[in-house]
């Protein structure tokens, strides 16, 4: 599989963290630690997503985006990753055409979700989420298992969508609760357990949805 995501980040440890996070959801990545090199790479090669640090040696993230635009390079969508809190900087990044903006320190789960979100928006032909023979279509709200429709409650649908988006990443019961029932739901996390049980039964995913000790659930599926 050729690399589809370019990571421009000069701090080795953070670059590897981003790489590991994205590999979890099945992506192949390349790391570049210098702004100028990143620019050269983007001129030669095509990627689906650029994770871009603002503070880069050689050429900073903003300069890089301006240079790409000036050179007429068809750049991939950009997810800015920066420690700068300044609203001015955020606005500048988004003005330059960045898709999204994430502040350091960040949680890998969130990075995964945002990266997936951008990728889905840009791969129109591949709008659905698929894993292990199950396909979820967010627009028609249909779920197919091996081509056969499966009846899911709205909560089960949202749970499935979360698990598919964050495949191979454990999600806490609180996160799942928030996603499926909203922030102001007052019920306990046992509700999540009940609905996950039903989802496992309906999809035959007793093995695929793993219970993670002390945390929550994880969907284990190759991309």
């Amino acid at each position: 599989m050729p690399p589809d995501i370019l990571i421009a980040e000069d701090d080795r440890a953070i670059a590897e963290l981003v790489e590991m996070t994205l590999r979890v959801s099945g992506h192949a990545t390349v790391i570049c630690q210098d702004g100028t090199e990143t620019f050269e790479k983007l001129k030669r090669e095509r990627y689906d997503l650029l994770i871009l640090d603002v503070m880069l040696p050689g050429m900073d993230g903003f300069e890089l985006m301006e240079a790409l635009r000036a050179a007429g390079v068809a750049a991939p969508p950009v997810l800015f990753l920066t420690a700068r809190i300044d609203v001015k900087d955020r606005v500048r990044g988004l003005r330059l055409g960045a898709e999204d903006y994430m502040l350091k320190p960040f949680h890998p789960v969130e990075l995964q979700a945002r990266a997936e979100g951008i990728l889905r928006r840009h791969r129109k032909e591949d709008a659905g989420l698929r894993a292990l023979g199950v396909e979820l279509n967010p627009d028609s709200r249909e779920v197919l298992k091996d081509g056969q429709p499966v009846e899911l409650t709205p909560q089960e649908f949202e749970l499935l969508r979360m698990l598919l988006t964050h495949r191979n990443m454990a999600l806490s019961r609180e996160q799942l609760l928030q996603a499926a029932w909203g922030y102001d739901y007052m019920g306990g996390t046992r509700t999540v357990d009940m609905h996950v049980q039903r989802l496992r039964a309906k999809l035959g995913w007793e093995e695929a949805i793993k219970t993670v000790y002390k945390l929550g659930y994880r969907l284990e599926a190759p991309r």
Binding site: D10, D11, R12, A13, I14, E16, L17, M20, T21, V24, D53, M55, L56, P57, D60, A83, R84, K104, P105, F106, H107, P108, V109, N168, M169, A170, L171, V212, L215, R218
Partner: protein, 459 residues
């Protein structure tokens, strides 16, 4: 403007009092002169009248005229001055003649006691000189009662007084106007000074008082005031700059903390949520450990800096320069070897008065920077002399545009900081040098290397 009013009123009233006193004295003197002249004239006139009466009575008597005295009096009365009246009384006290009228008859009752004397008589109709004279004729003794109006003198005095008062009032008005204008001009610099002070109080520290007459008191005050304003402005500017530097420091620190924190939080979260394979798991744990240590180092340096900023005087003790150098170098021997850099410690016998821990931290920070800048095969030299401590490398050097800033906390030559560390080292070294009364000079050229020398200038 109270002082203004006070000076104006005080000057005006003084002028008024002096003017009034002076004119009163002059007027009084003129009046008295006038009066005595008039009285003298009265005496002379009455004398002349007495003489004409005497000769008249004697003459009429020689003509054997029985009514000699009244006739002589009637004749004399025709030549009287205006305002003069008289009466003639014979030896038996019988009134022979009088031409007093209703208004003036009262004078007769208030004649002086003795002949040849006069007195002033004040009646509702006017003031008179009352005079008694003997007219000793051949026919017998008569007594002349003479009264002369003095109204002219008094009227003159009144007129003069009125004139003087009017003049005084006019003078005071003129003086007031002149004073007002003069004082206003004199007080203008004070008012402007007050305005400048107000501007400064409202936060405009660049406000200055105009110095209109530098030689007078207000001018000198304005000069002093401006000196003070200058000092205040400079002080405020310094404080503002310090405040901004502090804010920058905190912002930089927050930013600098985020890089290691991102790794620690991120890897920990990844480990918790995902089953990483053995190799990645090890790398994640390694990253957490290394970034944790980085945070710890930064914490130590910040702690040092904070303590040094507190201005606590270091404990200066006598210590051997060579030993200190060896200890500093020892910690970096391993790293230097790994990098293929040769580390030289060149110490001449010397003893320094210093805080050993701080000086060691200084030397090690300089060494650490030198090693970071060096490439394999190059040399880092650590030198100690009685007058200085020096670290020299042959590494990449500092670009000239960065040289003025490298001592600032969190400043790194490269805008991305991850490879160079947080940029606290030189800031720390500088503080330590200053606390020892030492000077830190950085001599660097790109491509030729860097030499940092700490020169002890104190005793």
């Amino acid at each position: 403007m109270k002082l203004f009013t006070r000076i104006l009123l005080l000057t005006l009233s003084l002028a008024l009092v002096f003017g009034a006193a002076l004119s009163a004295l002059t007027l009084r003197r003129a009046f008295l002169d006038n009066l005595s002249r008039e009285l003298e004239r009265g005496v002379q006139n009455s004398g002349a009248l007495a003489a004409s009466l005497l000769s008249g009575i004697n003459a009429y008597a020689a003509l054997r005229d029985g009514d000699a005295a009244p006739r002589a009096a009637r004749i004399s009365a025709q030549y009287l001055e205006p305002g003069a009246h008289f009466a003639l009384v014979d030896a038996q006290g019988v009134l022979v003649f009088d031409n007093f009228d209703g208004q003036t008859a009262g004078v007769m009752d208030r004649m002086p006691e003795a002949a040849g004397q006069y007195r002033l008589v004040r009646l509702p109709g006017g003031t008179f000189q009352a005079l008694k004279r003997d007219v000793l004729t051949l026919q017998g003794d008569y007594r002349l009662l003479y009264a002369q109006r003095l109204d002219r003198v008094y009227r003159q005095m009144e007129e003069q007084t009125r004139g003087a008062v009017l003049l005084l009032v006019l003078l005071c008005l003129a003086l007031g106007a002149l004073l007002f204008a003069g004082l206003k001009a004199s007080f203008r610099p004070l008012r402007l000074l007050g305005k400048a002070a107000g501007d400064i109080a409202r936060g405009d520290f660049s406000a200055r008082a105009p110095v209109i007459r530098p030689e007078d008191e207000v001018g000198r005050l304005a000069l002093r005031f401006n000196d003070m304003a200058q000092a205040t402005q400079a002080h405020v500017a310094r404080l503002t700059e310090q405040d901004q530097a502090q804010k920058r420091f905190i912002a930089d620190m927050a930013h600098e903390l985020k890089t290691p924190l991102t790794s620690i939080i991120g890897y920990a979260d990844l480990l918790r949520r995902h089953e990483l394979d053995e190799e990645r798991r090890a790398r994640a744990l390694d990253a957490i450990a290394r970034q944790g240590e980085r945070l710890e180092r930064m914490g130590f340096k910040l702690l040092y800096l904070a303590r040094l900023e507190g201005g606590q005087a270091p404990a200066l003790l006598d210590c051997d320069a060579g030993e200190l150098l060896e200890e500093a170098a020892l910690a970096f021997r391993g790293l230097a070897e790994e990098q293929g850099v040769s580390l030289l410690a060149d110490a001449q016998p010397a003893r320094w008065r210093c805080d050993r821990d701080l000086m060691l931290a200084l030397a090690q920070n300089l060494l650490s920077n030198a090693l970071k800048a060096s490439a394999p095969g190059q040399r880092v030299t650590l030198r100690a002399r009685q007058a200085f401590l020096e670290v020299e490398d042959e590494g990449e050097g500092i670009p000239p545009e960065h040289l003025p800033h490298v001592r600032e906390a969190f400043y790194t030559a490269d805008r991305s900081r991850s490879r160079q560390g947080a940029g606290l080292g030189l800031a720390l070294c500088e503080r330590i040098a200053l606390l020892h009364g030492a000077r830190m000079d950085i001599d660097s050229a790109p491509g030729r290397g860097t030499r940092v020398r700490v020169t002890f200038t104190g005793p």
